[in-house]
Amino acid sequence: MSDLVQPILLYIGCALGALGVIIAMPRRGANPQVIGGVLVGAALGAIFLAMGLGVGGSAGLDRLPNINFYVFSFIAIGAALRVVTHPRPVYAALYFILTILASCGLYVILAAEFMAFALVIVYAGAILITYLFVIMLATEAPTEEEAESQPDYDRYSREPIGAAVAGFVLLATLTTLFARGAATLESPAPANVAVKQTQFRPAVEASADDGRRAEGPILLLSLTSDRAVNGRVHLVLGGKPIDLDEETLESGLPVSLAAGENSIGIPLTGVNADQGRGADAWFVAEPLGDSVLAAKLPGRIESALREARDPSDPAKPLVRDDEEVVSIDVARREAVLTTVLDSPQGNNSSQLGTNRTITLPAEFQIDNVEGVAFTLLDEHPGAIEIAGVILLMAMLGAVVLARKKVEMDDAAKLAAQQRHLVVEVGPIVGRDQISGGSIHSASGGAKTHTQSGATQGGLA
């Protein structure tokens, strides 16, 4: 059923969206932008519903994103629609800032905190301010009698129907292609604890005839991994997450996977085979490179150890005040501590130099900023250089362009005169002579403007 409904919904959504965009585009005569907006909203609703049908499947709600995703997506796309359709460029720029902020929300959901804040600072803070300045510089001041009117090029749009149809045919193609693979996409991993999932293929088979742990069916997880990885298995049965421990999971927790095919058997106690078939399981990998990267930051590990609490007694710190970290083995997640001489409790000489081995706290890992920095500096140093050079050249180019002296065209001069703006012909001619022949229209502009008016009349 959903095989049939889903693509139809997708296509209906795309058609509605195209219709809405066409209606919302600025044009001559009546311009019912609200209707267009409502239509695009309905189209988005249809597309997201179709996506929910495609992704949900038997795994149900666990594969759907939470409500934040929908809110941010709707705001981002609605604001983008206003950017495209708003007749005033200043408002378009302000709506673009709204799009940026909403997509920053999406970035945060995707555990990319650094990029979210960098985007707010760079895009909304710097680039859009440049746009606003240019809009202010390059917009004609309305004369008094036409204070409310917009220039023609803001009031009309070019080929809205053709563009919208082409765009939404492209969108329909893309979403259909995405939908083909959506059923095989991995289940969600918790993002707020900053662990990530890996290539994963659950093959759920319940078999009651396993002799060793006879009480229930066994959930067989088949995991395909492209590299060796450690992680945890999460299990949801009937909508409720189930705690797995070393007893239930044969290979213990966390699970170590070798590269290639792995299979893990989880006995489901107190569950019959039919219920077992409804179980959903996923594997959340600990980021592999983290231990290698963390080894480069010994000071960071030590401060994390100082802040950590004892897992057995949250009131006590993991590292006592009178202890010092001697060595840290990140790969084995262990640290060796020793007691220091001149501590308040160090009067007891028998404890001097006592070594103690503790395991690193489980939540300790490389955070987002450190991960991005390591990737940037370790893997793409050349790209940073190129980006810097591009920025420098763009800055130089902008300076050169801004210093260039430009004369108005004859036609533009005439138009300006017709708008009763004060055009002082004399100084302009003088500047033409100073700037020499560097601008091709300069020779034409240097002639008397009565002649230019005559040529303009001839052109018209």
């Binding site: 666990d62 409500i67 999406l106 090029y153 765009g167 991960g371 991005v372 801004a402 430009v406």
Partner: protein
């Protein structure tokens, strides 16, 4: 219905924040890209046309971040930094050009530059 609402509202917040699948982010990104594309074709104002290219950059950024999240590495995020760099360079150059063109013809209409052939 109630359980669905509870699920959507993340009542079990510390446990699992559902990210959804890659599919959702790719579709959001595709919609943003298509809207930017339509705007670039239809609008006549040069500044709004450049704003629409920024919209398309933004769509690419969402797709890159989503790939980065679902492929377990930070490469996508670092590439968003480069997208940001290119957007900044493009804004600087393109806006300088727009000001230049505006001083020449006193209009932001892209159609005013029809005579540029070649």
């Amino acid at each position: 219905m109630i359980t669905m609402l509870v699920h959507l509202a993340q009542a079990d917040y510390p446990a699992v924040l559902h990210t959804g699948t890659l599919y959702h982010y790719l579709v959001t990104s595709a919609v943003l890209f298509v809207i930017g594309l339509i705007g670039f074709i239809t609008r006549l104002n040069l500044i709004v046309m450049f704003l629409c290219t920024e919209l398309m950059f933004q769509a690419a950024g969402i797709a890159l971040i989503a790939f980065s999240r679902f492929h377990l590495n930070h490469t996508g995020e670092t590439f968003v930094i480069f997208v940001l760099t290119i957007a900044a360079a493009e804004a600087a150059l393109a806006l300088a050009l727009v000001v230049l063109l505006f001083r020449r013809k006193e209009t932001l209409d892209a159609g005013a530059w029809r005579e540029l052939k070649g």
